[in-house]
């Protein structure tokens, strides 16, 4: 814990408004009081963060001369269209030379956190740290205490942003032994629409710790699609928390893809605070070896007639370990709630393991809430059917594994992203055979 105080003390003090300084101090205090969760904590029962807690991570200090990466290198590291509005961070620091700026509607404001402090301090002061609760979440407290850079998006009322905003975090060998605390704040006002893609990638296999926090305010009848593509270095640790509040008739759609990192944990916490709001949370993880991937969702139905849909799938090989913990809370006022949660895991080896824990807390009487989970192997009937057509056993297994993963990828509305992930999954399970 002491090393985190040192990181805190080493933060540059200049240019930080007093409200932010106060926020950071209070978050640090809270982090120190909470400490890292142990597996006795119900929310962390299946995921031990000991490898993070016992290690000393230093702030990443980028060397002069910045990154040797080119924009093409970045394009090769991430999925999606290079023409998207793209903000690239290398080891947590914004790299304008690697970024690309698409023509967004003039009213839309997209800043780095550092820029926003200068150009939109009132927006930051009003929203930063307001949704992401650092009082109860250790990792959010740590991020809030140590945040240095990130992205701030403001979409005013009624503005529709067609072009996705792509936030790319690349960690290279300079990140070795370091911790990066990216922050995202998106304020999407009533009737506005935006798509945000967060990509995390590692180059050169460094061991580092990404501790990301996103807070999203989704206004009345606004629509936000939020994708996170986690392909960190194999030695990395990745904890990411998204905290979302939704207004009346809004739609929030999140997709989480995870194939990287030694240990990853993705938290998505959404509050359905306005009547008729809808949230759709989907995800796919593909892990192998000794990888550990954990998804936790918490959907709070706080208003009537809201809908939530969750579909998460995992493909596990080697001795990997997957966790899915889906909580749904239905407040007494949230009548006509329609909630459905599904998670399926496919085990490709005898050593792979999955723990799933659905939790429903329902305090309203006129609601429809279901959850279902399966952990299994490939369907024998499907395998035989394919073989009976002359398709070899290995190929049949590969195709069925791909098909299992592809089902959840169909929920991705961005064609280039969906096709990119389909390509990744296809190559992984069929060793690159022509599709």
């Amino acid at each position: 814990m002491a090393s985190w105080s040192e990181s805190f003390d080493a933060l540059p003090a200049g240019g930080v408004p007093s409200w932010l300084s106060t926020l950071r101090h209070s978050a640090l205090d809270r982090f120190q009081a909470l400490g890292f969760p142990t597996t006795r904590n119900e929310d962390w029962h299946f995921t031990s963060v000991t490898p993070i807690a016992e290690r000393t991570f230093k702030p990443v200090v980028p060397k002069a001369g910045a990154s040797s990466l080119s924009p093409n290198d970045v394009s090769a590291l991430v999925l999606g269209d290079p023409a998207w509005h793209r903000l690239v961070f290398v080891n947590g620091r914004f790299e304008p030379s690697l970024s690309a700026f698409a023509a967004l509607p003039a009213e839309v404001r997209v800043f780095t956190l550092v820029e926003a402090l200068r150009e939109a301090p009132e927006l930051l002061a009003e929203h930063l740290g307001k949704l992401a609760g650092y009082q109860e979440h250790t990792f959010t407290a740590l991020n809030t205490a140590l945040l240095q850079d990130g992205v701030v998006i403001h979409v005013p009322r009624g503005v529709v942003v067609d072009e996705p905003i792509h936030i790319v975090h690349v960690a290279d060998v300079q990140a070795e032994g370091g911790a990066i605390h990216p922050r995202l704040l998106a304020v999407v006002e009533a009737l506005a629409q935006v798509t945000i893609v967060e990509s995390y990638a590692g180059v050169g296999n460094p061991a580092y710790f990404t501790n990301a926090v996103a807070e999203l305010d989704v206004g009345n009848a606004a629509r936000v699609s939020h994708y996170k593509i986690q392909r960190e270095s194999a030695e990395a640790f990745h904890v990411a928390t998204a905290q979302v509040t939704q207004g009346r008739d809004s739609v929030y759609h999140a997709f989480s893809f995870a194939s990287g990192a030694a240990l990853s944990r993705t938290n998505i916490y959404t509050k359905l605070a306005g009547e008729g709001a809808e949230t759709r949370l989907n995800g796919l993880y593909m892990i192998d070896g000794s990888q550990h991937a954990d998804h936790q969702t918490f959907v709070e139905h706080l208003a009537p007639a809201c809908a939530s849909r969750e579909l998460y799938k995992g493909v596990l090989d080697g001795g990997s370990h997957g966790v899915f913990n889906g909580k749904v809370y239905v407040d007494p006022v949230a009548q006509k709630t329609d909630g459905k949660q599904t998670n399926h895991a496919l085990l490709l080896s005898d050593q792979a393991r999955v723990d799933t824990k659905p939790q429903l807390e329902i305090f309203a009487d006129d609601v429809k809430c279901t959850h279902g989970a399966t952990v299994g192997r490939l369907d024998q009937a499907s395998l035989f059917y394919m073989k009976s057509r002359g398709i070899g056993a290995e190929h049949a297994r590969a195709l069925l594994t791909y098909a299992f993963a592809a089902e959840v990828l169909e929920t991705i509305e961005l064609d280039t992203l969906r096709e990119g992930l389909e390509g990744l999954a296809f190559a992984r399970f069929t060793q690159g055979e022509q599709r």
Partner: protein
């Protein structure tokens, strides 16, 4: 082409086939009829190599090879095809990809060059007409959300693409209306050739009005209890299966 001798097979420890003998020559159409639970589907699945059925005794020889020693995919590559009674749904794999994979594996086994996706689509265009299906089905997942009739047509489409030497139709007529039945039967008849053979497994005589068999066999209690020409099917239709049991 196919010689089955004293075949015994069981599923889940229960013996279903109790000594089946059957010889099928190239150019012939054989119908296997029998009451429910007589072992018709088991026989069809055992020939295709379904892992759920254990062959406990007897032999199956196909073109001089021991079929029982071949994996299901090797049997298919050698020209054996089973049209399933209950075709399996495979969400996430398109028909086009599925069929091209199967077709190319079978071609590879025959020492023929594989087709690329464009060449394959040209082939599919012809084959789809044979079963009166639209090209849009190629982009749908295998059998997923298909009606009963569409699934059966899809089986015949796969058969038309793979051009097997020995085709086994397992209750392909079940659940089909008369129009679909005609389409399916026409598809099968167009594939008939002097060097190919067909085994039609069915409960009812109806399909045999359209696919006329050379031989009809009655399976009961795991054995073939009566064999005859196509008129046997009509006799069964008129009298039911009960009289066979007495004769056996």
């Amino acid at each position: 082409m196919l010689k089955i001798e004293n075949l015994h097979a069981s599923a889940g420890g229960k013996e279903i086939l109790r000594g089946v003998n059957l010889s099928v020559n190239a150019g012939e159409v054989h119908a296997i009829m029998g009451p429910n639970g007589s072992g018709k589907s088991t026989l069809a699945q055992a020939i295709a190599g379904h892992p759920g059925y254990e062959v406990t005794a007897g032999t199956i020889t196909y073109e001089g090879r021991n079929l029982l020693e071949m994996a299901p995919e090797a049997r298919a590559q050698a020209g054996v095809f089973l049209a399933f009674q209950y075709p399996v749904e495979i969400p996430g794999v398109t028909n086009a990809y599925f069929m091209r994979s199967a077709y190319n594996e079978v071609r590879k086994a025959r020492g023929e060059p594989e087709l690329d996706p464009i060449e394959f689509l040209e082939l599919m265009d012809q084959k789809l007409k044979l079963v009166d299906m639209d090209t849009s089905m190629l982009h749908r997942s295998v059998n997923a959300g298909f009606s009963g009739g569409e699934k059966k047509r899809n089986e015949i489409l796969q058969m038309a693409v793979l051009e097997p030497k020995l085709a086994i139709l397992d209750e392909t007529d079940s659940g089909l209306d008369i129009d679909a039945l005609r389409v399916v039967a026409e598809g099968v008849n167009k594939l008939r050739r002097a060097d190919r053979a067909t085994i039609v497994v069915t409960h009812y005589q109806r399909l045999l009005n359209y696919i006329v068999p050379d031989f009809v066999h009655v399976l009961a209690h795991g054995r073939i209890v009566k064999s005859g020409g196509k008129e046997l099917a009509l006799e069964l239709e008129a009298k039911g299966y009960d009289w066979i049991g007495e004769a056996a």
